[in-house]
Amino acid sequence: QQQVKQSPQSLIVQKGGIPIINCAYENTAFDYFPWYQQFPGKGPALLIAIRPDVSEKKEGRFTISFNKSAKQFSLHIMDSQPGDSATYFCAAGLTGNQFYFGTGTSLTVIP
């Protein structure tokens, strides 16, 4: 059973567009929601993370929107650039060590 459902599987946008990647979860015990960015041939790297007591967090061009009642969270990339082309993973974490990752979204930003 997939603990975190991520969509879409792939996404193509024009430079300057605002891609949005969505994730949903069921377990209300999750208390940490990170997004990881992975470039080809590299391991994933933490991009931005949010806790459930806030509804939005922004770091540079990246914003997480969090809807606790709907058990959904999303990543928005403002003014997307070709260098943002990568695979993005959402995740949900429980207190302690356990993380559950989404299946990933391959983003392509066309110049």
Partner: protein, 113 residues
């Protein structure tokens, strides 16, 4: 400083052979994780080490998979009698005790022919 390193970066083996994958975590990180990334799949948790505690092996898919961590640092993931479905990228990550951020290595791409 140095990040997480993994070796080899690529490994091609024949079905039925054993393979060993190595991970060097960030110095001082007490937690170490192994994940498997298959095409179109997310990051599948395999095993977790925290300091000297017994490892959490709940994600290992079969008894052909095992891992050890020597001296609280370097870890080796061993796959015995490899099968074609074992082909994937194996990622190692480390974190500080209690830290939520995982620092990932570049992975080992395993191909079983």
């Amino acid at each position: 400083g140095a990040g997480v390193s993994q070796s080899p970066s690529n490994k091609v083996t024949e079905k039925g052979k054993d393979v060993e994958l190595r991970c060097d975590p960030i110095s001082g990180h007490t937690a170490l994780y192994w994940y498997r990334q298959s095409l179109g799949q997310g990051l599948e948790f395999l095993i977790y080490f925290q300091g000297n505690s017994a490892p959490d092996k709940s994600g290992l898919p079969s008894d052909r998979f095992s891992a050890e961590r020597t001296g609280g640092s370097v870890s080796t993931l061993t796959i015995q009698r490899t099968q074609q479905e074992d082909s994937a990228v194996y990622l190692c990550a480390s974190s500080t005790r209690g830290g939520r951020e995982r620092f990932f290595g570049p992975g080992t791409r395993l191909t079983v022919l």
